[in-house]
């Protein structure tokens, strides 16, 4: 009888170990989980921040016309790196500030297409944003249906490759305040 009890006791104790481990693990989990639930009020708190944020869209025209890089562009070491270095001239066609909000903000590009940006969400750390961008062709097919980017203020991303007047368009989109 003593041996039979041992048979039952040992598996019971061993199987109880994971439960204990789960209990300890559960004790650490709640703080992380508390960040995920989205409170509608929290969205309201972010509204002021959304108003302040914007995307600065620089439209550059890359060509091989031998004119060099427009000084109005400012410091952009990316333009001297491949594949941008395959063009020797960059001209600043426009610099537009599009306020970031949950609603679409649009601007018309030199080639007639329309760039649309939208704020998707402010990350919990309130430092990073998720924004979307798309490029549409009025009365034509969508050129860039969707682009979602996570960035913080000061960071930029580039959308390039659209043909325009013997060169290409380079859109430098930067999150600014």
């Amino acid at each position: 009888m003593r041996a039979r009890c041992w048979f039952l006791l040992v598996p019971a104790l061993l199987l109880a170990l994971p439960a204990v481990a789960e209990g300890n693990k559960g004790g650490k989990a709640p703080p992380a989980r508390t960040e995920k639930p989205k409170d509608p009020k929290a969205k309201d708190e972010k509204r002021p921040a959304e108003v302040e944020l914007a995307t600065e869209v620089m439209v550059l025209h890359a060509t091989n016309s031998g004119k060099g890089i427009d000084s109005a562009i400012g410091k952009m070491p990316e333009l001297k790196k491949p594949p941008f270095s395959s063009y020797d001239s960059y001209a600043l066609l426009s610099k537009t500030r599009l306020p970031l909000s949950k609603d679409d903000k649009t601007m018309t590009l030199p080639n007639g297409r329309v760039l649309k940006t939208k704020l998707l969400e402010v990350m919990p750390d309130k430092d990073h944003l998720r924004i979307s961008a798309s490029i549409n062709q009025p009365k034509g097919k969508t050129f860039l249906p969707l682009l979602e980017v996570k960035a913080k203020v000061g960071q930029a991303f580039i959308v390039a490759g659209q043909s325009y007047k013997g060169g290409i368009l380079v859109l430098v989109i930067r999150v600014v305040k």
Binding site: A3, L14, P77, P83, N111, P145, Q155, K165
Partner: protein, 203 residues
């Protein structure tokens, strides 16, 4: 060989009187030495029997106790143990069962512990795309898929550069890559546009 068998049968008393008489008449000196050897072997076996019985008698008691067969517990006499067959298998069974049970329990416990402690991957939330990672200078993305998704970047990289989380190139080919800009990098979405003259200009 048959001669030795006949001698063993004669020693064990298994021969008929006629066969025994015939064998007795034909015994050679060697046959007599074999018979004498059998006698010695028998003496040795008989001398060792009590010791062997005593050696395994305790095992039988343990087995009976483990099985809870109290009614069989009285059969701890030497004859009972010998009649139940060799003691070694019984002893092996008595000792291996706890080991097997404990081993299986350990394996199950380890598997459950691994399953519990392994962080669960978050369920994908369609159609939300996955994050994009740019740890390498160039990360080409096939334009065939409507929505391209890459891995989540490390935290340190996320602070150094914007992150492309999803991109839909539509019908034209495209690629995603990083261009170094000093200490930081800038993600680039490069689209292969058709020549300006080949597409329809807006009205």
């Amino acid at each position: 060989m048959s001669r030795h068998r006949d001698l063993m049968r004669a020693y064990d008393g298994e021969l008929t009187p006629e066969e025994a008489a015939e064998l007795e008449r034909s015994l050679s000196d060697e046959d007599r030495r074999v018979l004498a050897g059998l006698e010695q072997v028998g003496d040795v076996v008989r001398a060792c029997e009590p010791e062997a019985v005593a050696r395994f008698a305790g095992v039988a008691d343990q087995v009976m106790a483990a099985l809870g067969e109290s009614d069989v517990a009285d059969s701890s006499g030497p004859e009972v143990v010998v009649d139940r067959g060799p003691a070694r298998p019984v002893r092996k069974r008595a000792t291996s069962m706890p080991v097997v049970v404990a081993g299986l329990s350990l394996a199950i416990a380890a598997a459950v512990a691994l399953w519990v402690t392994t962080p669960k991957a978050p369920a994908p939330s369609a159609p939300a795309p996955l994050g994009a990672s740019f740890t390498s200078p160039t990360v080409p993305v096939s334009p065939s898929a409507p929505t391209e998704s890459l891995l989540e970047p490390p935290d340190e990289d996320a602070d150094l550069a914007a992150t492309i989380e999803a991109v839909d190139f539509g019908n034209q080919p495209g690629s995603i890559f990083m261009v170094p800009a000093g200490d930081e990098s800038t993600p680039v979405v490069w689209l292969e546009d058709e020549p300006a003259g080949a597409r329809m200009e807006p009205l």
